[in-house]
């Protein structure tokens, strides 16, 4: 074996494994394992057994990783312990530059020091409304904050925002008015921030807005100004990596600086030292993203090797970069950026490369794509088909733009006039780059959305690729078995990953009320395997688009790539807002609204029907909403959308069947809906309220909950229970409250024993 040439690779893998399994046990267990492994290693060494000693050593690293991965308990004076939610005047230091994500919205990361005259610690992410005064990293500020624990939407198979914040060390978030943020001192921005700001300003002064935003992304990884549609095009084309600062930029920078120094006839060693200094300075300017750290650690190692006239092992420096980052910030292991950066680099390093420029470039591109495939599928449900080809055009153009752009930005610190000439050289390159990306993104099927593969499929895939690498690289008797094993593992991985798409219908009706904050989004999976959607959650320019960020990933991960029907009950943005995104991402059979309600439809044993529409044409918007009921055997669901008292009386007067096992309570539990008569007529066993935590409307109303409880219904709420999943075969009903993963079973047939 050749482990002696890359001694750090197994260590890095072992440490990562430790981090992954750290949730399995308490720190004491890892501590004991660590001691045990040290003892075993020493014992093996004492008797001269090298291989067992090495194994014990690696186990030791696993234990150390497990220990490092344990969440340290929060400090006793952490803001989390203040008895949240509450409003307080808080002082602290800005731990990062303010991020403006809309003209009147910004995010501050506050390292708290004092709250209401007691000293506290811990990070708070503050969202400000209004126009923020100029602030900078390191500045001390005070502001009256409304603090609450960090939370996100809790749904199966969708992005866990709270976990993301926790990885950043943020357990508390807050809101405030921008004008009330009061600077306490004015230290002026640190030099790195000043360099970044002036660079961005120089770019914006010299180029049209969209091209300037693209160049800022290419050079500095600053994508804040990049328009949404251009950003999407880069994602769809599978070339988004050029917009993140990575080995690409750092390599170009180091090589350019070194070449320039050599051109000026500086000695070899001096050139290398200057390149190291510039690369580290660049990292400080663009900020500590994992991909930047990886690239800089590797670049510095390669340059150091050049300084010492040694040959650097790329795999080894990759492993050292991983170890260094994970030792300092263990939670980065679960960060998509970290995973993508390391996987792509490792894929390129490990893959066998044929000769020839075009074929070689294609192979590099394909190797990177194969390596990141499980990661993009897991985090983004995306499989890029065009990426392998698109990169052939995009990478050279981005490279030219990066080199000339760096020169232009450098010149802008000397003379704006000379820099303008250089920026004018970049501009046609940027236009060409945007053209290639726009074309690639428009190819039909450029991106395919698929369910996230489970850990079994990912493991099989990685092991399969590794076996194929052995087959390509090693001679002799290992070849045939590794080819067979690799192919078998890949086939297994694909089969496991594709199972959600091809599994036969299970004959159950599954209705999921998603946690989309204040709004409604209900996924109905029919017993015959088809699926439909009732309302799409909120959307629009100022809010998170629930259709794109919650509903779509949930559907993909359930293996639902097309919808038999989508019902938008009325036009309010908290119900219809996500519809645009859903229409763009899924093929949809039928669309139903209040004015074109569905005829009674049968899906296997389940029947869906709409209740009579509102009588008065001038009815208020909520009262005109589409009301649906779904029946299967003894189970029935009444989805009351946002209707109010007037429509409820109409429905009661019309004499239609309202009785239902589960009532989706109208209008997020508003006090103007769900009257006592309606509750009596429906007689629900379970009442589900889809409502946002801390919503400004006071939903749900205590009176509504009281009426439901008095009628014998159990009340479930998405703001407390997360997504609510109802599963029925017609005689029993299973309810899952996703936040606590709590499952309850209800027997619907009073005669039978379930």
């Amino acid at each position: 074996m050749t482990l002696t040439r890359t001694p750090l690779a197994p260590v890095a893998v072992a440490f990562g494994t430790g981090l992954v399994i750290s949730f399995l046990a308490v720190p004491a267990v890892f501590m004991a394992a660590w001691l045990l492994a040290v003892a075993a290693c020493l014992a093996c060494l004492a008797v001269g057994r090298i291989v067992p000693a090495a194994i014990a050593l690696l186990l030791d690293v696993v234990a150390a990783g497990g220990l490092r991965g344990e969440d340290a308990p929060l400090a006793p004076d952490h803001v989390r312990h203040l008895g949240l939610p509450r409003a307080l005047r808080v002082e602290g230091r800005l731990a990062a530059e303010p991020r403006r994500w809309a003209p009147d919205r910004a995010r501050l990361l506050l390292d708290t020091e004092r709250a209401a005259n007691t000293s506290v610690s811990g990070l708070v992410q503050v969202t400000t409304y209004g126009v923020l005064p100029p602030l900078t990293e390191g500045q001390r500020v005070a502001a009256p904050l409304r603090l609450h624990p960090a939370s996100g939407f809790r749904n199966p198979g969708t992005y866990d925002y709270a976990a993301h914040l926790a990885r950043e060390g943020i357990y508390v978030v807050a809101t405030t008015r921008a004008e009330s943020v009061e600077p306490l001192d004015d230290p002026g921005p640190p030099w790195s921030v000043r360099v970044k700001r002036e660079s961005v300003a120089a770019i914006q002064a010299a180029l049209p807005p969209t091209s300037a935003a693209l160049l800022a992304g290419l050079l500095l990884g600053d994508r804040t100004e990049l328009p949404r549609d251009v950003d999407d095009a880069f994602r769809r084309a599978g070339v988004y990596h050029v917009l993140a600062v990575s080995g690409f930029n750092v390599g170009i920078l180091a090589a350019s600086v070194w070449a320039l120094c050599r051109l000026l006839r500086l000695p070899h060693h001096a050139s290398v030292v200057i390149a190291i200094v510039v690369v580290i300075g660049f990292a400080l300017v663009v900020g500590p993203e994992p991909s930047v750290l990886r690239a800089v650690v590797m670049a510095v190692l390669v340059l150091l090797a050049a300084l010492l006239d040694r040959e650097a092992s790329v795999t080894n420096s990759l492993a050292l970069a991983a170890l260094a980052i994970l030792a300092v910030r263990p939670s980065d292991l679960f960060d998509p950026g970290f995973q993508l950066s390391f996987a792509a680099t490792f894929g390129i390093v490990a893959a066998p490369l044929p000769r020839g420029v075009i074929v070689g470039a294609l192979c590099v591109s394909a190797a990177a794509q194969l390596a990141v495939l499980p990661i993009t599928l897991t985090h983004f449900n995306q499989l890029s088909t065009i990426g392998v080809v698109a990169n052939l055009g995009v990478v050279p153009l981005a490279g030219i733009a990066t080199i000339v752009g760096l020169v232009a930005v450098g010149l802008s610190f000397v003379s704006a006039t000379i820099a303008a000439v250089a920026f004018d050289v970049v501009w046609p390159v940027l236009l060409a780059l945007r053209g290639v990306v726009a074309l690639a993104a428009r190819v039909p099927g450029a991106v395919i959305h698929l369910p996230a593969p489970g850990w079994l499929a990912v493991t099989g895939y990685v092991a399969g690729l590794a076996s194929l690498l052995v087959w390509r690289r090693s001679p002799g008797r290992l070849r045939t078995p590794s080819l067979i094993l690799g192919t078998a593992l890949l086939v297994l991985a694909v089969a496991v990953a594709a199972w959600p798409l091809v599994r036969p219908a299970d004959g159950l009706l599954r209705l999921t009320i998603l946690d989309v904050g204040q709004g409604d989004a209900i996924v109905v999976e029919m017993p015959d395997g088809r699926a439909m959607l009732v309302d799409t959650g909120s959307g629009g320019p100022m809010r998170l688009d629930a259709g794109e960020r919650v509903v779509a990933p949930f559907l993909w991960n359930r293996g639902i790539l097309e919808l038999a029907g989508i019902a938008v009950t009325h036009d309010d943005s908290d119900h219809a807002g996500g519809a645009t995104a859903i229409r763009g991402l899924f093929s949809i059979g039928e669309e139903w609204t209040a004015t074109s309600p569905p005829a009674p439809h049968r899906f296997g044993r389940a029947v869906i029907a709409s209740l009579p529409p509102a009588a008065a044409s001038g009815a208020r918007r909520n009262d005109g909403a589409l009301v649906l009921r779904i029946d299967m055997g003894l189970a029935s669901f009444l989805l009351a959308s946002d209707i109010g008292a007037a429509r409820e009386h109409e429905l009661l007067a019309a004499g239609v069947r309202l009785e239902a096992t589960v009532l989706k309570v109208a209008h997020h539990g508003s006090r103007s809906s769900t009257g006592a008569e309606l509750v009596r007529a429906v007689g629900p066993r379970l009442a589900a309220i889809s409502v946002g935590a801390r919503n400004p409307y006071g939903h749900p109303d205590a009176g509504v909950i009281g009426r439901l409880v008095a009628a014998g219904a159990q009340v479930l709420r998405t703001d407390r229970d997360g997504a609510l999943i109802f599963e029925t075969d017609g005689t029993t009903l299973t309810v899952t409250r996703w936040a606590e993963r709590r499952v309850d079973r209800y027997c619907l047939d009073p005669e039978a024993i379930c």
């Binding site: 003209p103 807005p209 969209t210 100004e225 549609d229 726009a438 400004p696």
Partner: protein, 158 residues
């Protein structure tokens, strides 16, 4: 003896070529701004061209982070004040968007003074935009009756 070495010549030639290209592109860009706008708009979605958004139907694109709404608002104000004297009532003749209106615009509405207008904007900023006109009721001091009276004069752009 030649004037330059071969390597020096190559380096100077590359620099000269780049400078020439830059100067030519720069001249062309400044001479034909409409062609620049056309090229810049080629890969953009139709609704999100570089020219400022129309103030009427106006939701800005989600992440366009230039301060566009204030600009368009400033442009809209004089137009409305010009129209005001000729209008039949004191209220603006076309419904104003609750989520984009300034306090000045809001205080022209019947029954809304500067204080109430300020409170509407504060509520909007603190709790997020209004999803529908009825949500005006959550502003302290605006009764359900007042909401009904305002309904003809205000909208919520989606």
């Amino acid at each position: 003896m030649s004037l330059y070495t071969r390597r020096q010549l190559v380096v100077l030639l590359i620099l000269l070529a780049l400078a020439g290209l830059g100067l030519a592109v720069g001249h062309w860009r400044r001479a034909r701004p409409e062609a620049v706008d056309y090229l810049e708009g080629l890969d953009r979605a139709p609704g999100s061209s570089l020219t400022a958004p129309r103030s009427g139907d106006g939701a800005p694109t989600p992440t366009s982070s230039e301060p566009e709404p204030p600009r368009s608002r400033r442009r809209k104000e004089p137009r409305q004040s010009e129209r005001l004297p000729s209008g039949p009532s004191d209220a603006p003749s076309e419904p104003i968007d609750l989520n984009r209106a300034t306090t000045v615009e809001l205080s022209r509405l019947p029954g809304i003074g500067p204080a109430l207008a300020r409170r509407i904007v504060d509520t909007r900023d603190a709790d997020g935009p209004f999803a529908r006109v009825d949500e005006l009721g959550r502003v302290r001091g605006i009764s359900a009756r007042k909401v009904e009276r305002l309904r003809a004069f205000v909208t919520v752009a989606r």
